[in-house]
Symmetry: C2
Subunit: 692 residues, 2 copies
């Protein structure tokens, strides 16, 4: 086994070392493991290593940061209560380097095994069974429970570790386990103590839409009789699948243009970066460089909150923090060749542990592939009719996560012009509740009979730790502003001014498309040789709607990060989470972005971090049912005076010889043919004018 | 020859008929033709025909609208002045149906032959030659002139037909006609009378950036000595082309999934529409239907204005209206297989005429092809680990236009979920002027030594004539608004309200991402059977920056449409152009959107038209030189309660069997393989709970 790079994920043997160290350190307790993953080296030591690596000064012994594991686990007490604990273990010395135990105010994310607890507790609870028995469910249906985070406790409510269960019925008559239960929502929510493994209470749900306001109990016992199947699995559909989608194959006969080595290193078209993966953030990118020059130190999805806008209790507690309450890495799909991606694919695996700390492989959680993105640049010389055109190739690093009903697709897309696009796609199944026959609701849309899809928001936060030609950067806000007509400066009134201001102190601000706000990640110590301006990357923050909940509400208080589009902070070790480290059952954001900017740090020409908050307000359409077509948001990072010309100028404009002409009737193709020039050109070229 | 559909482009024989009718109608004059193209039938008669067509009630004789041609031409007078004239000719009866002559206040777009006039006039002008001779140009360089519209005359300035010429030098020493002259800008602009074919004057240009304000003449005679080559043609590059872009082939062994017939009809995946093409708008789409249901009556790019923000005269007149001054159809590229598109391509041609009315073929001005757009929808059942995933196939109808230095790529992308995305890409070469050595400017960026790329905006307008389940539609503004915490209605403060208001009168409003403004194209007479809401298509107007020029300026006055994002008008026959019919040399928008809304028409439940204004403020980067990587803007039209579920639910989730695994080193590929399941699933499925 070669020496791992400091950013390589921990290997199975390393996980086992960490597990064993923790087990041995608690000889008298039962340990329930939650996660074990690489403890990324501190930035100071990692940048020292990276600097040596890139200057090819790696000597032996190399100044290599220690190889350490984060270990998250519960220590089980005799009274069934559990102490959530985090340790750092040094793999080489097999020693526990640090340990911190937390109390009930700090609730870790939900372990997958806790899902089972909710299901098992309900299944064996006579109270729950009795509540269910009051519904006259159709014959052959079974109950399914989707465990959810409890959400933010109400003001004054103090709770231990709770989970709630959204309940549905599934048509089990034909035995297909993929029959869609979300089409049959049941109007009750059991609340379970996950430590004591007890049913705490059952909340009853309003089903009347508007007419009965916050009341519940308006439904008949035959609560599902007006519902109907909402299947998406092809074998269960009542409609014929399309037979006219002809194959579209992506073939790369010479293989991909990228290289993956060292477990974490990806090289493609002058880009070079490391890929990390951890249970909370999923994919992380590190040490992102173009043609040897540093651009980003670290990129990650930091948090996402999904507050629902239905005020009828207990729906106000439907608010997931999908990273802090769940974990994107934990929820990553095992991707499949030819379904999730086309072409030549490199999949990367990760490792999981169970509650005992046993290691298993999470296959294909990341895919790496290339795709074509249309014309990259083109110019036709109208004098000669000569067109020079290149296509834009992209490298995609993608991960798909399933969080109960919803799916999110996260992708980093590198291009040949020095740009990076960060893409999110939302798909999957809407979170729905029961509604009485014939009723509608201002809080959502009836997407299937008896099924109310509640209005909600998805608010994401991307964390960007820039390293534009070095680790000391400055964030600028650049705006294009009107100038009044003025006889001296602007005599005809057509001028506008571009005003750029450095962000001198940590703080937050909002997108401003009306002033064309561009956020520049700049290095003021390095000037572009042509323009004289600081080398930069541009980022236009998307002006998506911010959180709508009343600022005094628990929903807004626990997601303060969702109040602004852009946050600028000074780098602080371990400060990775926009909504704070502990979001599960939080009543207010703690240690998140609001606290980070309160330090009032200087941020000019320093180790600065940018956080981009964006999202979508999702008022469901009937078309989003039963599985919604993707909703896409893209963030663009583009070089601005970083290079001395278009970096894609050297992309060859090769004609693809496998493209063919269609004959128009869709049944066959003509052989590949030359494009004919117009018999008489419809352009008028000019002659050169010689200088006398 | 079969009877053409009323929306089929005119055929060559039809163009000749129209030409002959006009020539014969002016026996004593010289006629210089500008364009001949289909006069689209009036909406009343066309909708009658379409209704019959779709109800399969086409009888013989069919109530077919008359087949007519628009003929635009100049009648040349003895004094060389020209009367711009428009006639409509009935092809069947060979009669001139109508004629209108215009005076100098109404200047038509620039004919391609007028480009040549500018070049020829300058070439033969001793005054121009003398002005050039004052520059000490490098040996072997020649002068190139890019003819441009004159722009808006200054207040009080009355002119006949003027064009201006942007002047550059080209290194002709190696004889390559594609050497890039834009890297050598010359600081003078000749102004030419296109009718009299005379040089009117030469404007001298400021080259000092800021220091000398509006002054010119600060440059040395060696005005290009600090410039350097800016080539993009591969044979002229001083850098090596990349050799690591391995082929990515799109193969469709069973042919495309679309059908093109009748010259104009395209059918694909339940979509069915007609494609038109005319000299001004380029591609137009008509009678767009999904699964037999009408969605749009007509879609077109209506106008684009490109005002420059450099106040130094005469740069204030750099403002192109690329549709009204030039014409997207006239400037369409002849697309090439394997360069402009991959896969199986169907190209559509158009026809051009020259000044004599002779017809020639414009080959491949439209391309039609399919592309893959990643995951379309996906859900993984966490209980069974079963993932159902479909890919999103798109049908693209694309056109690329070259307007002197710039390129624009316009594409309509249909998807399988009933959505339509309208895409624009800007690429090509920046419009640049000379700047003295070592200087910078607040009005632009130095992108190459001696080359100042001026700040500018591109403001587009898309015209959308909706027909959502019929021709009577209502536009709604739907906003998501916060609700205060309230003990009765919103006890926990998490609720928000969705407020929808019909646009009752013609008018304009702006994008509003902070309230999640969605524009709904609705038919209030047809209700969704599930939700009970009006069937609709949703459109989120992009909140791009509007025109920055002072509202009192000529630049802003002639582009009033660029002051608002969304305009709603009542349908009026022939009202197609956001900036008015005549933009060339306009001093104010006439007959454009500002005038249209002044009619104060009722727009509810009526034949209503939506106009979307969007664009980009382009403050150039060094990376935009010498040819800029594409800048993309997308507009999305998505069904909202138009269907009774996700219309892409019937897209089969077929695994693509040609995708293969990469081995990671980029040199070869493993054979196509099954994806292994994790040895121990990292998900925890729950058991069904039977009902007692």
């Amino acid at each position: 086994m070669s020496i791992p790079h400091p950013l390589d994920q921990l290997q199975a043997a390393e996980l086992s070392v960490a597990r064993d160290v923790i087990v041995q350190a608690h000889p008298d307790s039962v340990i329930l493991f939650r996660s074990i993953y690489l403890d990324e080296p501190a930035k100071a030591s990692l940048t020292e290593f990276l600097t040596a690596e890139h200057s090819r000064n790696l000597s032996d012994p190399t100044p290599r940061p220690p190889r350490q594991a984060n270990v998250h686990y519960d220590v089980v007490r005799a009274d069934k209560s559990q102490i959530y604990t985090e340790s750092v273990v040094d793999i080489h010395t097999k020693r526990e380097v640090s340990r911190q135990a937390y109390d009930a105010a700090d609730q870790p994310s939900i372990a997958l095994e806790e899902y089972r607890v909710v299901m098992d507790v309900c299944k064996s609870s006579p109270v729950f069974q009795e509540a269910i028995s009051k519904f006259k469910l159709p014959k052959g249906f079974v109950v399914e429970i989707d465990p959810w985070p409890y959400g933010g406790p109400d003001p004054g409510e103090v709770i231990p570790r709770y989970l709630q269960g959204l309940c549905f019925a599934k048509d089990a008559r034909n035995g297909n386990p993929d029959a869609n239960h979300y089409g049959y929502p049941l109007p009750l929510i059991p609340v379970v103590d996950a430590h004591k493994q007890e049913l705490i209470r059952i909340d009853k749900l309003a089903t009347g839409g508007t007419a009965d306001g916050l009341a519940h109990g308006t439904h008949s016992p035959n609560v599902l009789d007006h519902c109907r199947p909402s299947d998406y699995a092809p074998e269960l559909l009542d409609i014929k699948l399309r037979d006219d989608v002809k194959p579209l194959n992506v073939l790369q006969p010479e293989g991909p243009s990228f290289k993956v080595s060292d477990d974490s290193l990806i090289e493609w078209q002058k880009w070079r970066f490391r890929v990390g993966f951890n249970p909370r953030e999923g994919v992380t990118l590190h040490d992102v460089r173009y043609d040897g020059r540093s651009v980003f130190y670290r990129l990650s999805f930091s948090e996402m909150t999904v507050p629902y806008g239905d005020p009828r209790p207990p729906f106000h507690r439907k608010q997931a923090f999908d990273f802090g309450d769940g974990g994107a890495g934990r929820a990553a799909n095992n991707l499949a060749l030819g379904c999730d991606c086309l072409g030549v694919i490199k999949y990367l695996d990760s490792l999981n542990i169970n509650r005992s700390g046993d290691v298993s492989v999470a296959k294909n959680v990341i895919c790496v592939h290339e795709q074509d993105n249309g014309i990259g640049w083109k110019h036709t010389n109208f004098r000669t009719d000569r067109a020079v055109v290149t296509r834009s190739r992209e490298l995609v690093v993608q991960c798909v996560v399933t969080l109960a009903n919803y799916e999110y697709i996260f992708a980093y897309k590198f291009d040949q012009a020095g740009g990076l696009t960060v893409e999110t796609r939302a798909t999957g199944i809407l979170s729905v509740v029961n509604i009485d026959p014939g009723k509608t609701s201002p809080w959502g849309n009836v997407v299937s009979p008896g099924v109310l899809a509640q209005n909600h928001q998805h608010i994401f936060c991307l964390r960007v730790d820039p390293a534009v030609d070095g680790y000391k950067n400055t964030i600028f806000r650049e705006e294009s502003l009107p100038m009044p007509l003025d006889p001296e400066i602007n005599p005809f009134g057509n001028a506008y001014q571009v005003v750029s201001q450095p962000v001198k102190k940590s703080g937050a601000f909002d997108a401003s498309p009306s002033t064309n706000l561009v956020v520049k990640l700049s290095n003021t110590n390095v000037r572009n040789p042509i323009s004289g301006r600081p080398v930069s990357y541009n980022f236009v923050p998307p002006a998506t709607q911010l959180i709508l909940a009343d600022p005094r509400s628990i929903a807004a208080q626990r997601a303060k990060f969702a109040k602004h589009h852009v946050w600028v902070t000074s780098y602080k070790e371990g400060e990775l989470f926009a909504g704070g480290k502990f979001t599960n059952q939080s009543q207010a954001e703690r240690g998140g972005l609001a606290d980070a900017i309160a330090r009032d740090d200087d941020t000019e020409d320093s180790d600065v971090v940018l956080w981009s908050v964006f999202g979508l307000t999702h008022n469901p359409r009937v078309e989003d049912w039963p599985v919604m077509p993707i909703e896409k948001i893209e963030l663009h990072f583009r070089p601005a005076d970083f290079f001395d010309r278009n970096p894609a100028l050297d992309v060859p404009g090769v004609r693809n010889m496998t493209s063919v002409l269609a004959d128009g009737n869709g049944t066959c193709c003509a052989a590949s043919g030359e494009v004919q020039r117009a018999p008489e050109s419809h352009r008028q070229g000019g002659e050169d004018i010689p200088i006398r």
